[in-house]
């Protein structure tokens, strides 16, 4: 990647900024001190992050860490009962925290898009997948029927789906998880968004298919000038695609930085645990890897 902008990485428990890693100066998305609360309890506290155009940010954490809630705050789709109690979310100068439903319409789908975990629950089982994509194209991008069809086929091709004309007419139950997820990414990209959020998008997929989808996402960073936020419980998944990473635990950011640095020199015990677990139980120990050599001794105390 190009110039690594080393903004100060203070590893305090409450406010950590992910350093900017990209070509343009101002971040596309900036979250400052986000606090999501149920009224009685804070589920997300003091979360700050930045994503630049063409940048890719990974958010790692287990269930309950607040990573999904953070994404949902950015998209404005927090579950009922939860609100953004504090903090700012700024997207290309627009403040996302107090937008009305109508204000969101030109943003969601067109400028900020998302894919989630279980692809089949996001598709109507009784309509062919191609027609569902066409529907989005016609509604959001205002394309006419034939233009929408052509564009849908183009999108399928760019997702690496073989025989896109055949896939167009297939129903969700006829397609595998990986293909469905790629259809959904196509839907997400149909509005030519600036930011794509993938929340555990590959968790439910077979590992070979996961790799394929992650490869697609990687390619997108370059080919489409897209900013990407990838959320996963697996540090390695994030390591495949993202330039910078934040690690969340119990609603707070515990570590942040460029991916290679965080992996090479994890500061927080939780991150160290994640890395160590990979070293001990992952396949890295069988592969001749520089990583294994570079980790500080302490991490390997009992491997």
């Amino acid at each position: 990647m190009s110039s690594v902008d080393q903004s100060p990485t203070s590893v305090s428990e409450t406010s950590v900024l992910a350093p900017a890693v990209s070509d343009t100066a101002a971040p596309l998305l900036r979250v400052t001190n986000l606090r999501v609360s149920t009224g009685t309890a804070d589920l997300v506290r003091g979360v700050s992050l930045e994503v630049h155009r063409r940048g890719s940010l990974g958010i790692v954490g287990e269930s309950g860490s607040g990573k999904s809630l953070t994404c949902r705050s950015i998209l404005g789709i927090l579950p009922p009962g939860l609100t953004v109690a504090d903090g700012d979310i700024s997207f290309d100068g627009i403040n996302l925290t107090d937008l009305s439903y109508n204000d969101w319409l030109p943003l969601r789908g067109n400028r900020i898009a998302a894919v989630f975990q279980d692809p089949s629950s996001y598709l109507n089982p009784s309509i062919s997948v191609g027609k569902q994509l066409v529907e989005v194209l016609r509604v959001k991008s205002g394309l006419r029927r034939r233009a929408a069809y052509t564009r849908a086929i183009e999108l399928f091709v760019s997702m690496g789906l073989r025989n896109p004309e055949v896939v167009f007419w297939q129903y969700p139950f006829e397609l595998s998880g990986g293909m469905l997820q790629r259809v959904l990414i196509a839907v997400a990209l149909s509005g030519d968004p600036d930011l794509l959020i993938a929340d555990e998008a590959t968790t439910a997929l077979d590992v070979t298919v996961q790799a394929e989808v992650l490869d697609v996402l990687s390619d997108l960073k370059q080919s489409r000038d897209l900013a990407l936020i990838l959320v996963s419980h697996d540090l390695a998944v994030v390591a495949q695609v993202c330039d910078s990473v934040i690690v969340m635990k119990d609603g707070e950011i515990v570590e942040a930085g460029p991916t290679s640095e965080v992996l090479r020199n994890p500061q927080h015990p939780y991150t160290q645990l994640l890395v160590k677990n990979h070293a001990r139980y992952g396949i890295e120990k069988y592969l001749d890897d520089d990583l294994v050599v570079d980790l500080p001794e302490a991490v390997f105390a009992d491997v």
């Binding site: 490869d215 419980h233 495949q240 520089d290």
Partner: protein
Amino acid sequence: MSDSLLSVRDLRVSLGSGRKRTRVLHGVDARVDAGEIVGLIGETGSGKTTLARSILGLNKFDSGTVRLAANAHSTDSSIDNSGSTDIGSLSPRALRAFRRAGDMQYVFQDPLQSLDPDLTVFASIAEGLQVRATRTFAARGEVGATRQSLRARVENALDLVGLPTSLADRVPGDLSGGQRQRVAIARAMILEPRLLICDEPVSALDATNRIAMLELLSSLRYSRPGIGLLFISHDLGSVAGITDRILVLYRGVVVEEGTTAEILRAPKHPYTQLLVGSAPTLTGGESDRERRRELRVLLAATE
């Protein structure tokens, strides 16, 4: 081999009826020896679930054999001259007797579905013993139709999987996913099986819970010496940390087999290479992506 604990020879299985009948396994050979941990890796559609179900006697096979080595305690009715039990040839009654003996146990993938929501943890774990007791007087004596000895054995099983005995009176709905998974293992282990088959033991858990589960499974070798463990998974990386040997199943055929180190360091078959290349590592990079692309093209050409 007559020394193997489990030996599967040239297994061919078809599923579906009438015109929709398709062959899923095309002559599978596999073996698990006492005391070893074997990983069976295959993606959705590879036939791994069918293979597991056939080993358990839940499917009829077209041809081939599945044999479990007998030991001094095996019920006489099921052993044939080769000194092992041929699962495929057992009558329903003999199969039931064989299952009551508990030599071969199975841990389902999703404990939310495999534990009766209306039964307490105690009842679910004790079920196998109680079923045994309804038949054999000896078993009744062994179990002691007394609640105390049953209770004691259930508590031992909970101990074995690292759960507090206070959970015995809860229902599955009150437990976390990781705890439920452990209950499912306790249910299998209480019958003191010689072969334990686990379906996707860690796939439904997030990163930190996975490690705990892998450690538990690997510790079973010490708490139950001689036990053979067969893990079925779609993700090589998730079980490679503890397996001794790996079998790769692709489209109903075992395409490669070897020790974990052999498979990971020098995979021969393109699919195995793709599997190894797809497992997310902390240092995945562009070169891996290229290689994966090549392999996918190669595999697609063989369809």
